[in-house]
Symmetry: C2
Subunit: 481 residues, 2 copies
């Protein structure tokens, strides 16, 4: 068994990015104090996190292999069964969490504020420091992320069966829930217009709200984890989702310039406004909304950074595997910002491909169709192409299974093989979005398949923005804060 050569790194990276990152970190101390000084520090720390990730992942690879954290790439032909380091999401997770911890003094400490207050009042919304109670919220989020990382790594080390690991994210969300409770978090939900006839405008979900939060983290974690198996798939999903959240957050910040999108053309009552120092775009002047989206931004920027650094080594042909650790980390990070910054419904819109994949997988997850240990596409070593993989019926399928498979087959989401003699379904392609792509667009190589996945995720995010800002007025009234 050989050791894979790490992908070479351009040395210009270090020389070019270190001064830029340093400038961003130092910038809040220079005149004139920016409106949101901590945002600069966050960008600076994120660039350092990117560098740490891109340099440490290959450097630590041999250590992981030595500790038996390694795997073979099932979709490649390597001469002598190359060992590829597995669970390297742990490196990303450690860098990410360390960056978030080091960010605490920038976001919650006073020296910078004292300087700012010494100046004359700034114009527009200024978020120099988070209010003090937010520190507990921030720390509980860190705790949840750290527990998710730990559990993801334990999952990699102990190889927990998937039925047992479904509820694991609930454990990681306990700190979120406990602090939410201790902070008397809001458990009200705005009721969509069509249901207001039956219910009030606001209903208090009470304990159910906690169940909802726990479910959200379970969903976001597992849905990324089951859409996995080809080089780069886990981390590129995470990148697109995190990128979409960042774009959404930017709509709520006090930009110095102010422009509008002509959304009335879509029938929307209010225009989509970006920027403006006083009303801060979609925040409509609400300091609380600006703070919430800053909170989200501070978690997403370093996440994008470590994921980008990792993707460089995880891109086809992969030199490092993420393991469950990365899926748990990213899934939990999304749940954290969705819950703490109160945009969980918008968040779910960014998961359209994952929701599709999850719903499609249900017949296999719940035993209607046999579920093999791996559902990744089948690799043809002669053509270097991937084909849809198949699940084989060992016993004759039940009536319900037949009905479901016929329906999915009609929709073009699976392809069934019938036994030549009996006419019974003997095989069906595995019910994952990756196999659907291969069915619809024909066999393709692994890199191409991942690119298709990225495009579908981008298209999903485009749709999400359209629904959120173009159609939300259909089900909710007023400006959707």
């Amino acid at each position: 068994m050989g050791l894979i050569e790490p992908r070479p790194l351009p040395s210009v990276l270090l020389v070019g990015l270190v001064p830029i990152a340093t400038w961003f970190i130092v910038r809040p101390l220079l005149e004139p104090i920016p409106a949101i000084p901590a945002l600069y520090s966050s960008v600076g720390l994120s660039i350092f996190a990117f560098l740490a990730s891109i340099y440490l992942v290959p450097a630590l690879g041999p250590t992981f292999i030595k500790a038996n954290l390694k795997g073979h790439d099932l979709l490649k032909v390597y001469k002598d069964d190359l060992d590829i380091p597995e669970s390297m999401g742990l490196v990303c997770a450690s860098i990410y969490i360390l960056a978030l911890i080091l960010f605490i003094p920038f976001a919650f400490s006073t020296p910078i504020r004292d300087q700012a207050l010494a100046k004359k009042a700034q114009e527009g919304i200024t978020v120099v420091e988070f209010p003090h109670y937010q520190l507990a919220v921030y720390l509980s989020s860190l705790l949840s992320l750290l527990i998710a990382t730990m559990l993801g790594f334990l999952d990699d080390v102990f190889d927990i069966r998937w039925r047992h690991k479904l509820p694991i994210p609930i454990i990681a969300s306990i700190p979120l829930l406990m602090v939410y409770y201790a902070e008397h978090g809001n458990t009200n939900v705005v009721v969509p217009l069509p249901f207001r006839v039956l219910l009030a405008e606001l209903i208090n979900l009470g304990p159910l709200y906690y169940v909802y939060m726990a479910m959200l983290s379970t969903f976001s974690t597992n849905s990324i984890n089951i859409l996995a198996g080809i080089n780069g798939s886990e981390v590129s999903q995470a990148l697109v989702i995190a990128g979409s959240i960042i774009v959404n957050d930017l709509l709520y910040l006090p930009w110095p310039i102010d422009f509008r999108l002509p959304l009335h053309l879509l029938g929307n009552k209010t225009e989509l406004e970006f920027g403006g120092v006083w009303n801060a775009g979609m925040a409509y002047g609400s300091r609380q909304l600006v703070e919430r989206h800053l909170f989200s931004l501070y978690f997403m920027l370093p996440l994008v950074a470590v994921c980008l650094g990792f993707l460089y080594h995880n891109w086809y042909p992969a030199r490092a595997f993420p393991g469950d650790t990365l899926c748990y980390l990213t899934g939990m990070a999304f749940a954290v910002v969705g819950i703490q910054a109160h945009f969980s419904k918008t968040l779910l819109l960014f998961f359209i491909p994952q929701i599709f994949n999850f719903v499609l997988s249900c017949p296999q997850l719940f035993g209607l169709v046999p579920c093999p240990r791996h559902r990744v596409p089948r690799f043809d070593s002669n053509t270097n192409l991937l084909h849809p993989s198949k699940a084989e019926f060992k016993t004759s399928p039940s009536k319900l299974s037949i009905l479901v498979l016929r329906l999915l087959s009609t929709l073009g989401l699976t392809q069934v093989t019938e036994h030549p003699n009996t006419g019974l379904i003997s095989e069906a392609t595995n019910l994952t979005i990756l196999n659907v792509f291969l069915l619809r667009f024909g066999p393709m190589n692994e890199k191409k398949l991942n690119q298709v996945l990225i495009c579908s995720q981008l298209a999903g995010s485009g749709l999400a923005f359209f629904i959120r800002y173009g159609l939300a007025w259909l089900v909710y009234d007023g400006d959707r804060r």
Copy 2:
């Protein structure tokens, strides 16, 4: 290789303790509301943590062995090289941290306070709920504990060399330091009487105080880690230290009864007072001191619980090994309470055997005397007794080494062997407290040696209390808050 049989558990444990623990958790909701309701919840959760630890450690043993987390007991003769699960401190750590997370609503939430306020004013100091800013301090402590656990486990998995792992606890203390900074923590230190001529009564250490905090966690973690190697040694040290901290904390609580120790006989100016609902013993009526020691108590009670549960399986002959994970966890827990509850000097007094062992180890740690990979005593399989292990000089020792060894030998702390021809030192017993015990008291079996260690730790704590409350007036004036 066989699998070791776990030690049997009396079933009365579960039947007996579950109702007691439940009562403690429910008690704060019952009339009359106690003065410190969260203390009851803490005791209840600790009993549950004890049960979880004593039942889960043997239950998860086979899983650990399957994941290659196993070791052989070097100081025993087992028929077929029995595998013993290693790193099982991870189980204790997980239970401990989960218990502390579940405790958040009891210590920081209002429903209980609202009930209490509805009653007429209580008599004496009542700590119904911690002030809100303490939640951030509590959460940062949890983060540090979790990072210490994670790093300890990574140390077990990746087997980091000791020179590299010395600074690891500093990483774990970063959340403590960051939040301390963001909370504008006090960095003043009271100067001892003899130095007040040179300095002021209070000096502000500034950044040095952060260095001191980081050093404290490094010391408490590593000093437990290097006094290890025989069955039960790591966890029994932790138990005695935690027990001493608990006794010290209890001196500051508002007990309904009030009694004094005649300390003036020792020349002390103030009597040692326990209890009293108004002045709360040594707290002399300071609500802040009561809160600090409650904070410490809330971290120490579940720690004692999980350690007790683990000791049952780690006691001679051990059925489970703690791994570095347990040393990191306990060391960090002590550093956390010492720092956050502001009694780091008292804390260090409870580490007398560890300080002795560390100072004694220095010639080996810093290369004056050769340091073999393991310094545990040597096992004689014929007599089943332990003898002092020896470090061998491969080259002739330097003059400084000879001087140090002659000095230690005169003090009876090592035994040197001279080469019969040259008269040069060729061997010396390893410089650990365990080898000193074996030198002073003669060879003994492993169980006995651990009991001697426990006795020395208890004697150290006794001395610590005497210094802290009997002699402190020599170097500090006033009541020592």
